[in-house]
Symmetry: C2
Subunit: 152 residues, 2 copies
DNA sequence: TTTAATGCAAAAGATTTGCAACATG
DNA sequence: CATGTTGCAAATCTTTTGCATTAAA
């Protein structure tokens, strides 16, 4: 656990309120799954969350973990790293560039900027390892998706 | 095709040279797979590349496409979007932040920077759609992976 | 001719779904 | 009590692997 206890409690309160407001049932499983995600900054995957939740809820199942995580995302309480449900995409552009990514459909395009090529990183980054490249990722909704109604 | 013909030819030449230098066989399939990736800027996935290559090499198989794409990556001729072989990771940090990502193991950590929170994007980005967030993604090799020998 | 690469089919890994039993509001 | 949620098992989807055949060098 690397988040302050108080912050975790605040997040849980927020979750509780959102559920009440939307008429979503507050089950033991949901509470524990959310707690485990809120407690860490290590960006776990579903399997890791499943293993952590199991300690307090031994009967929980992996599919409930998945269902709950997507619910939490739809509620705006957690985000995913990268675009979910996306397959591996390949890039033959070897010149320095940045990306625009549509968070609905995964549409991705390159753009260029001399300014963005020379960003100053805070020193705190060095503690994590050796930096090789820095890229700006712009997230948004592409032209085509803007036209459509949203279906999760 | 949205890359200049000449650039595609240059990239193919480069590929040819790298293969010769490393004693890697230049098969018809490899050439066509690389050509299809080099021709576009739309960041296709393996299935899309497979369908495009099929038009000129009808007997090609999807697993050869995968094997070739990983070969090209190992040769430094293509990159992947996101960390390959990674499962979906979840993030409960709702405050504005940026990421350090280890390209070997997927280790991911947040960092903060007021400067990076207010980047100026080039106008060209607007053509792609509506921007919702901008995030800096720092790629590198984490402390733990730096210690190990590299095994693809 | 030697060795690596291909295509096929089957396997593996991640995530999703149908459905009967169960718990929440 | 009504309805939404769970756990299980089976299904689906993407990517990988073993192996006999084929093609580069």
């Amino acid at each position: 656990m690397d988040i302050l206890k108080q912050d975790v409690e605040d997040r849980l309160d927020h979750f509780t309120n959102v559920c009440k407001a939307k008429g979503i049932k507050l089950t033991h499983q949901r509470l524990e799954i959310f707690r485990k995600v809120a407690e860490t900054t290590d960006h776990p995957d579903a399997e890791q969350i499943f293993q952590r939740v199991r300690k307090s809820v031994p009967t929980v199942s992996l599919d409930t973990v998945y269902r709950t995580l997507w619910l939490l995302r739809d509620l705006g309480l957690v985000a995913t790293l990268g675009v979910p449900h996306e397959r591996t995409r390949f890039d033959a552009n070897l010149t320095k560039h940045h990306h625009f990514v549509c968070t609905r459909c995964g549409f991705t395009r390159d753009f260029y900027s001399d300014d963005l090529n020379k960003l100053n990183l805070p020193e705190s980054v060095d503690q994590f390892g050796i930096v090789t490249t820095t890229q700006v990722e712009v997230r948004g909704i592409c032209r085509e998706c803007s036209g459509k109604a949203y279906t999760s």
